[in-house]
Amino acid sequence: MPEKFDVVVIGAGPAGAAAAITTAKAGMSTLVLERGDFSGAKNMFGGLVFTKPTAEIIPEFWKTAPMERKIIEYQYWLLSKESHVQVSHRNQKFVKDFNSFTAFRARFDKWFAAQAESSGATLLTRTTATGVLKDSTGKVNGVSTDRGDINANVVITCDGANSLIAKGAGLHREWKPQDMAIAVKETYSLPKDKIEERFNIRGDEGVALMIYGGREEEYAGFVYTNKDTISFGLGAIMSDLAKTKSQNMPMQMLEWLKSHPSVQRLLDGAALREYTAHLIPEGGYNSIPPLYTDGMMVCGDAAMLVNALNWEGTNFAMFSGKFAGQTAIAAKKSGSGFSASRLAGYQAYLEDSFVLKDLKKFRDVPHFIASHKHFLTLYPELMNDLLYKFFEVDGRAKEEHLKEMKKELYSKRGRLGLIKDAIGLYRKVLS
């Protein structure tokens, strides 16, 4: 191995592999460090990757990438104790031109990192970066690892949600519990024909289901169909969960969701194959740390680049990695080093793209949701009650039902509250 690399990338997830593909293709000597047994071994996500942004990084990726199912239907379920209200959208357009697909990180990231290798990058697995090296001026000029030090002209850190490298380099402090979600996920195997029957799909079609409500603690659940497995899990904001004084809340909530009569049917008879957990940085725009410093850029989860509202993380990671790579290439061409001023272009790239535009647009949503807990707790319950009364036939006049529905709505939230919520939602999300 050479004494020094142009670029050392920390982490071979979607951000790191995208960065390495970019710099290696431009002829920069690139080393990617991966702490796992292989790329993807330590990575977990719910399960959705969006097609178009991925194709911008790797044209025609679908010819070789390990995909599970192409999503033709998106569902939202709002739970009450023993019922759910469902909003879903299925479209032939998604069948013809798939908008997203399900995947497994341990397979997709392995494949993606192999693309970086075939672009000319060197991949070093089973190697944990422990910090950065700095020269006398404080510029990052290398990485320390559990196998020794490595010198670099520029470091691109894509070390994931814990972001230990950027923290260690002094770019930001420990994340706040209110900005972080903990997600737990189970993978279940179920015969292909059962999955297709249960979700009314065929061939490589798939369904993505998001679940909210039904208990006091706020959470967001998911069920994704894969070829012959189902991804099932939920995430919840850490500071919320910690208020409940009981052992292992993430797993307890997962067990509760699994036992819900509507959810239980989806997983009935399926065999558990894997259980794991991961953090999701959900603080949004207002919590994004400094994205670069002298000799270093931060990408993906490590830079809190996640749009929790639209369940987007993988694409943000890929694009931020690509932009960091492009910035490194431009800095090398300029021939005047990799100081912070030379890396400022990275932030400009992000600001010009959907990554920071989307995060900026929805910057107040995390706070809005946090201060409007009833959106994910009271409203699902109300909607279930109202629809039950709407459909129920019990020999009374419908007018009485309507009266009851109104009464319940006003007693649980109040007219003023309802109006305030509608205006708030419009301002923060839709306007």
Binding site: D37, A106, R126, T128, T145, M238, L241, A242, G269
Partner: protein, 123 residues
């Protein structure tokens, strides 16, 4: 660079016994869940409590289970005899929740070395 990471030790191998099925009656324990994963032990613990006295103080102020135990999805932390936070680091799925939620930054949290720890099949 050394290559000492090549020596591997398997602590809990994948269980080939009947997998648990998702039914209401059948709640799978954390241990059973973790047996499903591939795991190579780093014999040097990658997690540690800096000061047990701080955990005792935390138990008085926040009650027990303490925040780390409430959030850990793998039951790494157990409060023993009302005075010791026992860390089963070989249960760890390396998520980082405990480190962030600890109100006293009392958890020394690093990643396992040389590719050890958890290895996912799906992820």
């Amino acid at each position: 660079m050394n290559s000492s990471g090549e020596i591997t030790q398997t602590s809990s191998s994948a269980s080939s016994s009947q997998p648990a099925t998702a039914t209401e009656e059948n709640i799978v324990s954390v241990e059973e869940r973790l047996y499903l994963a591939k795991y190579k032990l780093d014999e040097r613990p990658h997690l540690a409590i800096y000061d047990q006295a701080v955990c005792q103080k935390c138990a008085q102020i926040n009650g027990s289970p303490q925040p780390c135990m409430r959030l850990c999805p793998a039951d790494v932390y157990k409060w023993e005899d009302g005075k010791r936070n026992i860390v089963s680091y070989d249960n760890c799925v390396e998520c980082g929740a405990c480190r962030i939620i600890c109100p006293y930054t009392n958890i020394e949290w690093t990643y396992p070395r040389w590719g050890r720890g958890l290895s996912l099949r799906y992820g």
